[in-house]
Amino acid sequence: MSATPAISLQDVEKSFGSTRIIQGATLDVLDGERHAIIGPNGAGKSTLFHLISGHLVPTSGRIELRGRDITGMAPYRINRLGLSRSFQITTLFHRMSVVENIRCALYYPLGYRYSFWRLCPRLKDVHERADEILERLGLTGRRDVMAGMLSYAEQRALEIGLTVAGGADVILLDEPTAGMSRSETARAVDLIRALTENKTLVMVEHDMSVVFELADRVSVLLYGEVIATGTPNEIKSSRQVQEAYLGVEVA
């Protein structure tokens, strides 16, 4: 564990036209922690993810990955620096087989890059790693099925698999358990815990039981501002959070 935060947001702002979605978000995600971002709909959680991952460029402010300025960097460059993310709406390579999906996440990190002179069927390291990851995802039995044909829960598992396969050590998961049943959620939580071991995890999550089960620390986003950060228990008992977000009538 290093003292430099894995991700550091300094006064990040993002406006669309005259609408300020993110207004001065400041947040440090510590190295190796599991950090959940919660907040009501429209608080800007997904926008915050898009800013960190480079899909959107902040209007002002600074974003660092392990102390390195990544503000305005292209997504693939940020990814090569060791940050990977999943998407709220499942984004797989739906016309490829499950195993090929995972392999696609391995070509670049294993150094094959844009090669058009090496044949994939001969890349043993890619094949072994991909099969290993499928095993951990519990998708070995589905390896040759087209990704688009998987069940929803399986697709979400593959989504997480694609995110971690390349070996990034900072993982952003956008609502990984959204739309899942209770038992599927429990399995997803175990999967996330296993796959992000020794990594830094930031997740947006609506399901509070998942948040309190997985997260070391929680940040609350409200109207584009981080209004509180703390351990799950601190957040649960914070008056400010309860009034602003949890909507509990404080006794």
């Binding site: 997504p75 390579f93 739906h94 090929e100 696609c104 058009f116 890349l123």
Partner: protein, 420 residues
């Protein structure tokens, strides 16, 4: 991997080599060789196009630019060979044309592959118009109305190929087709080829497995230009003349139709498409002036009723064949075929008659169709044509329903087997 599946590709390649070597002996008429040569050119062109459309999800309306410029460059190089300025055997000309296609692909691709989707398609159309306009301005290179012509019987001779007989040209085209198709297939098996599929499916995610989607598109685009240039060079060698038509929108449209008719989802789809399209256009144009009309209708039918192309139709039958249930579909197909034929006869009579009457040069209204002489202006001809069209359309609709029924039956039987 079993021994069989390991050697299957090798057997396929060897089988193709033998077939390609035997074809000119089986069909040695000039007509047949002309057809085969154009098929070979069409196949390379269509496969190069599918590197964009099928594999990278890029819809280009200007692929003839790389084909045509490759062809022009090859012909200029051919003339340099004739003049003794270039010591290159004519069969190797496609290297020159391919490099030109690659160079133009790099330059224009640099701009156009920054975007995908509709914007990419519009840029490709813009470049196609731009190059077509250039052909009127840069007359030295494009040769104006007459185009550029050359004499392929010049320069050093390679493997006894004097390039005089049509058969020599055939062997050169066949060899280049085989090598190009193999290379293009192998590219699909490389990390770049796989990532092109990934970019097609989901460019957003591609960025999070380390790739710049623009770079993937750009590389595929440039490589596709290379193979289009090879196809254009083969065209130049085959016809010994090339005009501005070769960079025009018509050729760009043809290659799109080839790829789409054959199906873009399978590597060999465009090969099928090139064969069907080229053969249809050559055969149809020998019989009727309205051949483009028929091709257009055929294309629309494929787009509407078989969006995965002919290869897609074949592919859905593969599991049926394997389950040995094909005999349950064939009766319905035969019925649909007969009713479709009635519809087609009606349509042909109507189209040919109206086409004949609309010709300003037609001296009489008497015409001949399928060996039958008749008066195109008489009500009987029209009654027959329209009648057959209507009856055929009605019956076809009914029989297509029975095809659907047969399919439902086959599906339940296959589903039952899978569960068992």
């Amino acid at each position: 991997m079993t021994l069989g599946s390991r050697f299957a590709p090798l057997a396929l390649v060897l089988g193709t080599v033998v077939l390609l070597a035997l074809l000119p002996h089986m069909f040695d008429s000039r007509y047949a060789l002309t057809l085969l040569n154009q098929l070979g050119i069409g196949i390379v062109f269509a496969l190069s196009y599918n590197m964009l459309l099928g594999q990278s999800g890029l819809l280009s309306f200007g692929h003839a630019v790389y084909f045509g410029l490759g062809g022009f460059t090859a012909l200029h190089a051919l003339n340099a060979i004739t003049d003794g300025d270039l010591p290159l055997p004519v069969p190797l000309l496609p290297i020159v044309g391919g490099l030109m296609g690659l160079a133009v692909g790099i330059i224009l691709g640099w701009v156009s592959t920054r975007r995908s989707g509709t914007i990419f398609a519009m840029i490709s159309l813009g470049f196609a118009e731009l190059v077509a306009a250039c052909s009127n301005i840069i007359r030295g290179y494009f040769g104006g109305e007459e185009g550029i012509s050359g004499d392929r019987m010049s320069g050093p001779v390679l493997f006894d190929l004097t390039m005089g007989p049509q058969r020599d040209v055939y062997y050169v085209i066949a060899a280049w087709m085989l090598v190009s198709a193999l290379l293009m297939y192998l590219i699909t098996q490389t990390p770049l080829g796989r990532m092109a599929n990934a970019v097609r499916d989901n460019p957003q995610r591609v960025a999070f497995v380390g790739y710049n989607p623009q770079t993937v598109r750009f590389l595929m685009f440039a490589l596709s230009g290379f193979f289009a240039g090879i196809a254009g060079s083969l065209f130049a060698i085959n016809f010994e003349i090339i005009t501005a038509q070769a960079v025009g929108i018509e050729y760009s449209a043809s290659v799109l139709m080839m790829a789409y008719i054959g199906g873009t989802g399978y590597f060999l789809g465009p090969v099928l498409g090139a064969i069907i399209y080229t053969a249809l256009s050559i055969v149809l144009s020998a019989y009727t002036e309205a051949w483009m009309f028929y091709l257009g209708v055929f294309f629309i039918i494929v787009v509407v009723y078989a969006p995965n192309g002919v290869s897609g139709i074949l592919a859905v039958h593969e599991p049926v064949l394997r389950a040995r249930l094909m005999h349950r579909l064939l009766p319905a197909y035969a019925l649909a075929f007969v009713t479709g034929a009635i519809l087609l006869i009606g349509a042909v009579v109507v189209i040919e008659s109206s086409y004949h009457l609309s010709q300003p040069g037609a001296l009489t209204t008497t015409m001949s169709l399928g060996g039958i002489e008749y008066d195109a202006d008489a009500w009987r001809a029209w009654a027959f044509g329209l009648g057959a069209l209507a009856v055929g359309a009605f019956l076809l609709r009914e029989t297509i329903r029975s095809v659907g029924g047969a399919w439902a039956d086959v599906r339940t039987r296959m589903g039952g087997e899978a569960a068992a």
